[in-house]
Symmetry: D2
Subunit: 361 residues, 4 copies
Amino acid sequence: MIFFKNDYGQGCIDEIIDLMKEVNDESNPGYGEDDYTKKAIELIKSKMVDANPDIHFIVGGTQANLTVLKHILRPYEAVVCADTGHINSHETGAVEATGHKILAVPNSSGKVTPQYVRARYEESLMQVAHMVLPKAVYISNATEMGTVYSREELEALHNVCKELNMYLFMDGARLGAALMSGVDYTLNDIARWCDVFTIGGTKNGALFGEAIVINHPDLKPYFRFDLKQAGGMLAKGWLLGLQFIGLFEHDAYYKCAKHANDCAQKIQDAAVELGYPLYMKSDTNQIFLSVNDQQLEYLRARVDFEIWEYWNDSIIIRLVSSWHTTKEEVDYMIVYLKEASSLPEEDPEEVEKEFEAKENE
Amino acid sequence: MIFFKNDYGQGCIDEIIDLMKEVNDESNPGYGEDDYTKKAIELIKSKMVDANPDIHFIVGGTQANLTVLKHILRPYEAVVCADTGHINSHETGAVEATGHKILAVPNSSGKVTPQYVRARYEESLMQVAHMVLPKAVYISNATEMGTVYSREELEALHNVCKELNMYLFMDGARLGAALMSGVDYTLNDIARWCDVFTIGGTKNGALFGEAIVINHPDLKPYFRFDLKQAGGMLAKGWLLGLQFIGLFEHDAYYKCAKHANDCAQKIQDAAVELGYPLYMKSDTNQIFLSVNDQQLEYLRARVDFEIWEYWNDSIIIRLVSSWHTTKEEVDYMIVYLKEASSLPEEDPEEVEKEFEAKENE
Amino acid sequence: MIFFKNDYGQGCIDEIIDLMKEVNDESNPGYGEDDYTKKAIELIKSKMVDANPDIHFIVGGTQANLTVLKHILRPYEAVVCADTGHINSHETGAVEATGHKILAVPNSSGKVTPQYVRARYEESLMQVAHMVLPKAVYISNATEMGTVYSREELEALHNVCKELNMYLFMDGARLGAALMSGVDYTLNDIARWCDVFTIGGTKNGALFGEAIVINHPDLKPYFRFDLKQAGGMLAKGWLLGLQFIGLFEHDAYYKCAKHANDCAQKIQDAAVELGYPLYMKSDTNQIFLSVNDQQLEYLRARVDFEIWEYWNDSIIIRLVSSWHTTKEEVDYMIVYLKEASSLPEEDPEEVEKEFEAKENE
Amino acid sequence: MIFFKNDYGQGCIDEIIDLMKEVNDESNPGYGEDDYTKKAIELIKSKMVDANPDIHFIVGGTQANLTVLKHILRPYEAVVCADTGHINSHETGAVEATGHKILAVPNSSGKVTPQYVRARYEESLMQVAHMVLPKAVYISNATEMGTVYSREELEALHNVCKELNMYLFMDGARLGAALMSGVDYTLNDIARWCDVFTIGGTKNGALFGEAIVINHPDLKPYFRFDLKQAGGMLAKGWLLGLQFIGLFEHDAYYKCAKHANDCAQKIQDAAVELGYPLYMKSDTNQIFLSVNDQQLEYLRARVDFEIWEYWNDSIIIRLVSSWHTTKEEVDYMIVYLKEASSLPEEDPEEVEKEFEAKENE
């Protein structure tokens, strides 16, 4: 069974686990006030020379999202988000649990467009005080659909937020994949465009950990209070520092993402050639193929993956590669896709007969 | 200026204000523990002979909705609602402020359909524990669009809720209008179909007040605690009792609603005859007409009403009648609509000339 | 049965109910955007010539408190309050339900002292970010114990709040009673000392209604959003305007409070003379007497009042007068106290015999 | 500099880090649905043969507390807790942020007594629905003061909770220390007494992690939903399983705690012999000594520890040992205490002279 189920199915890169073992017996101050955390912060800041952010580390992504939004929004303020956005669909109402409405807008290949941001803002002016005030825009980059925002798209979102006095918040759970997908921007640009963003470790080679990067000066003060209140302040905080030292000291963060993207793209290319319809063309490490029942069964017996959605008569499967995916796994995956694509079409009568035969056994 | 802006623009029916004056100097226990409240509860219960509900009074509708949902939902549970539902669109995130997600579904003429309830429920099973659990369905009857649920629609919603172990909650801010729109069901039926519902006084002849009717036995205990916590327990609670005595002792509740419906329907019929497109055919006291710029200006100078939406090139206006609307107002309204429909079409050149002329004065 | 149970047991002064009847058929904009509301605001502002507050009206006191605190505090911020403070003891956790901790400190005759404010603030510095940040001080004036803050006490609280960058919030549910208790300050002074305060109508002659007076410029914006979200925006908002026109147009607010205070003080003086121990010396319309079992029974048969607390072997009863209390009621109350104070002491053996006799009947 | 600052200042026992390295390249299902998590649960359940709990793992203690309380309480329900309880004092209002009031009661050596539980419960009956309903009791064992509940105390709390229909919730962040302090009860007993409790890994040899043990059948369903919503569901959940396998497979959990206790108790005994007053007699790995300014300075230059409180003229310091404390550290600590206790008393005049001399330099 080869593994294409997700990008958080194995531990971490050797650098990190080795580092953890190495410092295991050292004594460190708790709650992120140690020197490893400081070093990790400096490493990340060195990638954003034009910015002067506050950086905090937190264990998980849902935690990061809810803590940031709770921190930056007043009670009556809301966050605009694609309907496919992680906070809207797969975090069990974590943002609403902090008291804030999510204004979900139709996604465009998993992305939020400035038009919808503006529309939601203008709509809220129709009945001032009777509707929530859209104050933040949440985007995921790479998106939950494997797509990536272009420079133009990000600048446009940045501009509309600026104009409407809203914050732009990027969930970077898979930001590595976005940055290594061939885009013409870097962390330094993102720090310029986003008021807050996260850099995800969990899905890109670390055991856990998201870096929360706060650029907007109004949003910096008192963040640690909200971090603690939300249960996000790790006692042995240096463990988070170690994850990001491991990712950024020798650019493993970029190498892991590049490797993951390459694996998935190679499979996607092969799939297209084999005639599998794509649910959406991905640029990163998550790809979405449309398969039929027979193909599903064939692949399921050989590959660990997720069914994403039932779509008319076909099934959308998601294949995810990671820093841990091997060349062999990619090769096997392509072979299985090839085999599945050339299965003899089932004769419904035959199927029924087989079924009956089994029943009579 | 005649008034068709809303159904809460004047005080209350004489019976109520007279009753208030009459008992003004009596001493009463506070917080709804007085005899007027008890009497009002008995009057309402007499309309639902097959039910044995708990009934509480509260001043306003947003308060009623947030208190009910906070009371009946566990933290991870969500409420399904039409995108046009009041809690989703015009209550400034009051439900989310209590920590709960609203699962908005596309409305069908302002209504929720069982298909969407089931779809949302099934979707939540795709990723158990990673998505909120749909546990309640919120419907407004009459809806925010002036439409009314049929007996079949309510039974179907009741059944799907029963099957999926969800609560059905009806916001009856305009329930009087629904009941008097010619439907073949009564309060007694509603008490059978809905686990909780409200009976709105504010928009149907009272100064304020909603009755919260709790039918599901699991939802009855401790409601007064949540009522107090949400700030909804009125000190001089008998005032709420008086409103509902005024509405139900001699059936003013029904008469007011019937009158309001008749007024609006007469105008809607006239508008259709005059060729005004309807945004949606209403059965109750709120009607929605499509007008052009010229018509809008003409009407605006003579009638107090609200612009509901800008829709392509036309403007949707909302006209609302109430217990307080007079025959004269209805007649004038129809005359104005007639006049507006036969305005000479403006010649753009003329308009420009007039404009220049004015400027040169 | 004479009534000394509370100060919200009857309707309202005639001016208000008459005004309500008078304007009952007028058409008004909803949600506090009407001219009566404007007029009421101007009347109140005329009492605070040195201030330029924003003023909003809301139906009830718990609602006022939770809405203000939700509006002025960030998630990690807390409010310091006397342990006897209404928000801490009798609002069913309404403030905590908005997410904020109440830092209760020992009361000094129902009051908060600057020493405790400072102590709580300094304590929070011991473990920065691991403890809530005290950001507001809540005081009730008059207090729940009938006592009143002096000018010096208020100035001292104002100064410590200023120094520690905290907001001073006064719950004025019984502010009239405080102002008419012989203090050397006015609403104008209070507006100078308090960042936010309320002026209570419910307990001083109105049917309902609290005015929320916001002085601190940072706290003014967007208040109506939080008001709506908390369910505190009354549809027929002019009704709240009418209450405060009735209270302030001809100074009924002051007259009602003066009358209530005089009634209670006369009873308190008589009680002291009769030898009843006071639980706390009151300056306003709520008095607290210590009685024994026999006295309790005697009074209970004749007077409607509340038992406040069981205190060692005695019972503390609360007697509350109001704008509605009559001279006759005061006279009777004093007579009953006199009679109760001279009851023949019960012979315990007799009591037991009587009890047995009854049982054998 | 020797380390007695806390019990979470180093990584973890070798067994755990080795296990983590060993399984680092395996593929595992996420979110706690892996076999390591199952194994860890079975190991823990084997210590409670008479119970049949649901067990969940979570990264941190504050997270555990807020998630449990949010899960078990209805909006109007509150938790009784010692004023020194961690949730009341050092979690930045995390519980209140979920909407619930903490009813803090005076601690008795860091403990909650049944008398106060009953008192708070009875108080809440004085004004039903106007006060929160005490529904849970939170205790820490060992307490924040290093003390331990006896079997009798726990049985008494269990009984009062049963009688009053309340849940007993034990925060076991330092439960190992309690169990190894010589008490006559085990995890199996605790599972019988507590409706929910936690078993802390972070402070007893693991990198992180608390096991949440749910015994009351009503509290088991849907816990994973609240876990996810609160941000407490770790993506690579097997890491938590590994921590508890490491702690329970060969009873490291008990050995670590025993070792830590022994170290601290040895120091406490020495301190008493040397004449240091104790702030509170500890039975576990946290001890609290009273020192003077001179002693503080002397110790501070040699030992990493925390100042707990300023108490009259003396300073309370907290010394904490752990699984990681060495015999050498204990010996040094005792030597330093000995030296500090025999410092020549400072001559105030000398101090002043020295000070002036320095100033004139």
